[in-house]
Symmetry: C2
Subunit: 313 residues, 2 copies
Amino acid sequence: MKEYCFGIDIGGTTVKMGLFRTDGTLLDKWEIPTRTENGGEAVLPDIAASALSRLGKMGIKKDDVEGIGIDVPGPINEEGVVPHTANLGWGYKEVTRELEELTGLPCRAGNDANVAALGEMWKGAAAGHKSGVMVTLGTGVGGGIIIGGKIISGANGAGGEIGHIHVDDNIPGVCGCGNHGCLEQVASANGIVRLARWMMEEKGEIRTSIDTETMTAKEIWDAVKSGDEFAMEVAERFGKYLGLALANIASTVDPEVFVIGGGVSKAGQVVLDYIRKYYVQYTFRSCRDAKFVLASLGNDAGIYGSAKLVIDG
Amino acid sequence: MKEYCFGIDIGGTTVKMGLFRTDGTLLDKWEIPTRTENGGEAVLPDIAASALSRLGKMGIKKDDVEGIGIDVPGPINEEGVVPHTANLGWGYKEVTRELEELTGLPCRAGNDANVAALGEMWKGAAAGHKSGVMVTLGTGVGGGIIIGGKIISGANGAGGEIGHIHVDDNIPGVCGCGNHGCLEQVASANGIVRLARWMMEEKGEIRTSIDTETMTAKEIWDAVKSGDEFAMEVAERFGKYLGLALANIASTVDPEVFVIGGGVSKAGQVVLDYIRKYYVQYTFRSCRDAKFVLASLGNDAGIYGSAKLVIDG
């Protein structure tokens, strides 16, 4: 194993870049803009130029670099090929091959939610565990399944697509994926607001301290903490849907630990408590003691996970 | 790799034993009774004696045997230890260590449903695929998840416990596991009959050619094939529950293929058709083209899968 590697996390507006020692020490991190114009043609060349320039500044020889790990916000197969990544402007793109040609360094790539899970398992909240499932409650609901240290990426890159687990036929509206009843519709940041509005309709009249016209997920969780009855009912229903989905994941892959991350998880332990209450109710007996932890790497999960991708080869 | 190995499948009444070439050729198979009296103390010695005696009869030297793979009808951890296996009379038992001492051969062990899945992936209906999920619709509903050729056995031996996926809060009665709403309650051989009775209660009055006092799963599927309207409604609901559960498994591990086995699968293609109809409706778009196949090894899946356990080391 060589001494250094890169871990890179491509987002829709910025690319996060990390230079690591292969023992897992983060030496330096920085960001560059994601230039998505013209089919995102500059994204990989910008990354290559920034990485090589950083090596020069740090006085590190390319021969001492194990390679580049990178994640992309969309499905990617085991050969490092994406069919289409809308928010980067990309159509079909051979990510690892192109980046290898641009840098002369070996490259490994993965999906961002899967790679974030790998990062949390390696150096974050789930460090020391052999198997874990990470759920990212952000704009959408993402997920990653790590078994024996490896990402379950799936035959179609859909491994860990936890947000599209079907939880209730009655959820109003259509999910971004085109289906009905997906977890994402009631558990993402927007989903919690959607859930609250649906419950308001069901109830007809409610009493709450929340401004229901402008409410956000954060305001709902703040109201939960201050004892608002309606907000607590929303949190119960949120917990029921997520607890059910995670219980069914446990009957499938039976992980040691669940890691809850993303913007919604910033509300803290209370989020875990509502999820775990229903998880314990629904799950198979042997899986009741699975651990629930909050993600700890925040926005760095992607660069850590990407670095681990290339370290694992 | 040595030339021979054993694949052994312990059931509650008989032990199925197979002598294989390590290229996967089944040379000989036979059965011995499972003597469960006195805490099942004779089970492993009987197996050891039968295996060694067969080597003698075939003129095969122990030195040419790679080892013994074995499955047990209950949870077993990666060290080959079972906490308790009710239908063999066993309490805590170190299965692989004991069998190694009795035979002088290396031993690997797994849970029967997981090992059957491995068998079908290796030499059965899913041969040639890298990832697959097997569902066994028998007295209960068992399952096995194979990813990259390896069983996902889980942190608590509950990997592939598909029968205990929660599918509906409204299912009457309590599952054998102590929970409510499990797939097994409506999709096992007994479960289909339970589902039919529940639907009769819901409807109040039904017209059907089935004798509803004495009906079995087989009679319900026969009636489905002859166009009985009530039986077809039962099959739709069965398909909805299983299709939903498998769709949610696809959003978790995204397998290439689903293998449907066990007694209920003997009704044939019609079972797959009802499951697949709802699978396609509920699953994440990328997973819609997963294959559905009927298990092909029947009662031999366990001995094949057990042999593969020891071949894989």
